[in-house]
C-alpha cells in the first residue's frame, strides 16, 4: 500500500490586518505534516510570525514544540511537524504599524 497524503488549502488569497488562527484541521491519520505559507502581499515594515498549535479535541489549543517561523516579505516559507495529536492549526501574529498581509496557507500531510 502506498503511503497516503493530502494537502489542504486553509486560506486562499486571504487578507489579514490583525492576528489570526487557521481553522482547526484533523490530522490524526498522518505521521508527518508540513505547513506552507505563501505571502502574496505584505505591507512595508510588517512581519508575520507563525506558530504551529495542536489540540486533542479541536477546541482547546497549545503550542507545538517545533517553534515558530517568520516572514517579512512576499515569498514561501514552510515548517515541518511530527508527533502531533489529532488537530493542527497555525497561530499567526502580525507585527508592524497598520500591517496587512495576503496569504495562501497549505497543510501537507503524509501517513
Amino acid at each position: 500500500m502506498l503511503r497516503r497524503s493530502f494537502t489542504a488549502v486553509l486560506e486562499k488569497n486571504s487578507t489579514f490586518t490583525s492576528d489570526f488562527v487557521t481553522e482547526p484541521y484533523e490530522a490524526g491519520w498522518a505521521l508527518e505534516a508540513r505547513w506552507f505559507v505563501r505571502i502574496l502581499e505584505i505591507s512595508p515594515g510588517a512581519g508575520l510570525t507563525m506558530t504551529a498549535q495542536i489540540s486533542p479535541d479541536g477546541l482547546f489549543w497549545c503550542d507545538q514544540e517545533s517553534g515558530s517561523f517568520s516572514l517579512k516579505e512576499a515569498g514561501l516559507a514552510s515548517m515541518p511537524l511530527r508527533n502531533f495529536g489529532q488537530w493542527l492549526r497555525l497561530d499567526a501574529r502580525l507585527s508592524g504599524k497598520n500591517p496587512h498581509v495576503k496569504v495562501l496557507i497549505y497543510l501537507a500531510l503524509k501517513g
Binding site: 486562499k12 488569497n13 484533523e26 490524526g28
Partner: protein
C-alpha cells in the same frame, strides 16, 4: 430472481462493507474513508489563475477532513467500521457552507443511485446561557445545526442540457427553530458565467438564485437522531436515486422514510455550457446558520448505476 442475481445478492450480503448498502447492477465506486479521501475534494469557484476572481460565495468551501470523530468528553468515537469518516466543516460564521465534490463523467444515461451512512453535528459550545431551560434531553446543540445537502451536476453531452439534482435536510431555520424537513430547490444554482453576465445578483445560498427558492419534499418531515449531546454520533442510512435519461429525481430514502421524487421538477439551465460533456459530479455540503461550526460526517459512500 435469476441464479446470477441470486449469487450476486449473496456475495453482496456476505461482504461486511457492502451488506449495509443496496446497490444497483453496477457499483460505480465505493468509498471507505479509512482508505483516504477517495477523490472528494473542496469545490472552488471558477477562475483563470487569479484566485481574487472567484466570486465571494464560492471561494471558501473548506478542504474535507478525514475525521476520527474525536470529542472533548469521550475521546474518539470512530466510524461504523474502522476509525475514519469524511468530515465537512464550516467556519463559525453564519451562512458559511463547506462543500466537497467528486468528479466523474458518464458512459450512458440511466439510473444513478447515491447511498451513504452519514451523521451531522454542531461543534460543542460552552455558553452557559444557551443551557437555559435545558431539560437533560433536548440538546441545545441540535438547534445550532443548520442544514446539509446531497446534490449532483450533470450535463447531457456537448451542447446538451445541464441540470443539478439536490436534496437538502433543513434542520433549523435561520432563527434556530427546528424544521427537520427534506427540501428540494426550485431554481438553478447561479454559475460564475451567469453572475459575470449579470443574469443573477450574487447569491446568498450557493444552490439557488434566491434564498427562498426551496419547497418541502412530499413526505419530507423527518426528525433525525441527533441524540442529546454534541458528541454522540448515530449513523443514518440514505439512498437517493436520479434518472439521468429523464433528468428527474426518482426517490429519496432516509432510514425508514421513503419519498417519491418523481413529480419534482429539476431546474435546467438556459443555454449550453462548454467543456462539460457527460459531466457527472457528486456534491456534499453542510451550512451553518449561526456562529457555531457545523459538521457533516460520511462513514462511507456507494454510487451504483443500472448501466
Amino acid at each position: 430472481m435469476s441464479a446470477v442475481a441470486s449469487m450476486r445478492d449473496s456475495i453482496l450480503r456476505a461482504d461486511t462493507r457492502l451488506s449495509k448498502y443496496n446497490p444497483l447492477s453496477r457499483i460505480l465506486f465505493y468509498d471507505d474513508f479509512d482508505e483516504g479521501v477517495n477523490g472528494w475534494c473542496e469545490l472552488v469557484g471558477n477562475h483563470a489563475g487569479n484566485l481574487d476572481d472567484i466570486r465571494g460565495i464560492a471561494r471558501d468551501f473548506r478542504p474535507p477532513q478525514l475525521s476520527s470523530c474525536t470529542f472533548f468528553d469521550i475521546g474518539t468515537h470512530g466510524s461504523i467500521e474502522g476509525t475514519y469518516s469524511l468530515k465537512l466543516a464550516t467556519r463559525a460564521v453564519p451562512n458559511h457552507a463547506a462543500i466537497a465534490i467528486k468528479r466523474l463523467t458518464y458512459m450512458r444515461r440511466g439510473l444513478v443511485q447515491f447511498e451513504t451512512w452519514f451523521t451531522f453535528k454542531a461543534e460543542q459550545t460552552f455558553d452557559r446561557a444557551s443551557l437555559s431551560g435545558w431539560d437533560g434531553n433536548k440538546a441545545p446543540s441540535e438547534r445550532q445545526f443548520g442544514d446539509f445537502s446531497f446534490s449532483n451536476d450533470i450535463c447531457d453531452g456537448e451542447n446538451g442540457k445541464r441540470y443539478m439534482g439536490l436534496v437538502r435536510y433543513l434542520n433549523t431555520d435561520v432563527d434556530g427553530n427546528l424544521v427537520q424537513k427534506w427540501m428540494h430547490k426550485t431554481s438553478v444554482q447561479p454559475t460564475t458565467r451567469m453572475e459575470r453576465q449579470g443574469v443573477v445578483p450574487p447569491n446568498q445560498d450557493f444552490h439557488t438564485v434566491n434564498p427562498d427558492d426551496w419547497e418541502e419534499i412530499p413526505g419530507g418531515n423527518q426528525p433525525l437522531c441527533f441524540n442529546e449531546t454534541a458528541s454522540k454520533v448515530n449513523w443514518h442510512y440514505l439512498k437517493w436515486i436520479m434518472d439521468t435519461s429523464r433528468r428527474r429525481m426518482v426517490e429519496l430514502q432516509c432510514n425508514d422514510n421513503v419519498m417519491d421524487l418523481s413529480s419534482i421538477e429539476v431546474p435546467v439551465y438556459d443555454g449550453h455550457y462548454h467543456g462539460l460533456p457527460n459531466l457527472l459530479n457528486f456534491l456534499l455540503d453542510v451550512r451553518t446558520h449561526t456562529n457555531v461550526r457545523n459538521f457533516l460526517y460520511l462513514d462511507s459512500v456507494l454510487v451504483s448505476v443500472d448501466w
